[in-house]
Subunit: 219 residues, 2 copies
């Protein structure tokens, strides 16, 4: 059984390397987990010995299959817990990330199964992130950051769960996953995007925020 520290490293690596076969670096992990690079080096040597990551000193690293499986399990827990906290406990989508960050290491498989069942084997968490199934498979989406798209009509399919201030603000505006928007003036130089909402009303997002909102084109 990996300790919760190890689980956090694996999760961070997965996040940084992406779901594909990317790689990441010691420095990135150190920044993500807010530890010093030396600490990460030490941990990578360990994880490498345990067969969880592929680590070439000074060259970079990536998850091996076993590490990927473990990481996916943690992600599954995290997202199921987030959804549970919103749907069942009535918490706000902007406040569940931190909570899930801790509970994901504490909850038993049995309780997790119960949650999964209670929610009807959901496929997406409250931020639109896909929930891996028991085998670690995820439904891929073709979402693109709002920041990178041209003018047109889109559906919001996902918002990064890391920025609770943004989530709280969107929440106050009554914003929901699945909502359709129209992007009118992608004025990237000024760093401001203007959206008109299907229900009427406008919203202005800065570049930083627009990078965290993922959309799919609407035909």
């Amino acid at each position: 059984m990996p300790s919760s520290t190890v689980e956090n490293y694996l999760k961070a690596i997965l996040h940084l390397q992406g779901e594909g076969k990317g790689t990441t670096t010691v420095g990135e992990i150190a920044r993500e987990l807010e530890v010093t690079p030396g600490t990460v080096t030490t941990m990578m040597r360990q994880l490498s010995e345990r067969g969880l990551v592929d680590y070439e000193p000074r060259r970079g690293l990536s998850l091996k299959p076993r590490g990927m499986t473990e990481a996916m399990k943690v992600v599954r827990r995290h997202r199921l817990i987030e959804l549970f906290l919103v749907k069942v406990m009535g918490l706000d989508w902007s406040e569940v990330h931190e909570e899930a960050e801790i509970l994901e290491h504490a909850i038993s498989d049995r309780l997790l199964d119960r949650i999964d069942e209670m929610l009807g084997q959901p496929t997406h968490d409250p931020h639109g992130d896909p929930i891996p199934d028991r085998l670690g498979m995820v439904a891929k989406d073709r979402a693109v950051p709002l920041l990178e798209v041209d003018a047109g009509r889109y559906r919001v399919v996902r918002v990064s769960d890391g920025d609770s201030a943004l989530l709280g603000w969107l929440n106050e505006k009554g914003f929901r996953i699945g909502e359709e928007i129209e992007l009118s003036h992608p004025d990237r130089v000024a760093g401001v995007l203007e959206l008109s909402r299907s229900g009427g009303g406008r919203l202005q997002l800065g570049a930083e925020a627009a990078g965290q909102v993922f959309v799919e084109a609407v035909s």
Copy 2:
């Protein structure tokens, strides 16, 4: 903030010294937590320095007010979580203890408040143990182990939550907190107690089990 290890020590001391002003010993704690006495000694010195316990080497120890408060908080968490797992998550009362043992250290105050609210500020957990309120106050009961009472009519008010085999067995028999029973032949020599249930049917309990079932006399 006490670490979860410290919380466990405080909880164990509370359990062993009783809610009153009893005391306990290094050895008892070591057995309860399944660590060596030396480990407990080390920890007691720490807790003493932190002002949480009153510790006289070789003489015994007890919780100081601040330690008592902390311990009560943990107990409150534990019992609310147990009740939540039974009432909301549909787990069985025989299996929630271990789960709560872990979650009690992981859950946030905010989530705990939500649970408290959702359950309507309950006063007793699924095993009949009183749930301390936010200030650590508990409703005392006058319950006595079934093992120690004479023949007569009683109401079951509490069953120790530590023995999940017993709880599972009682559960299978359809046994519930609050049920009335009649104790007919307290044959302590043979170590068997026979009960007749209000709904009809009989039950035989060994001495070990009868020590874990707490009852109040029914007029």
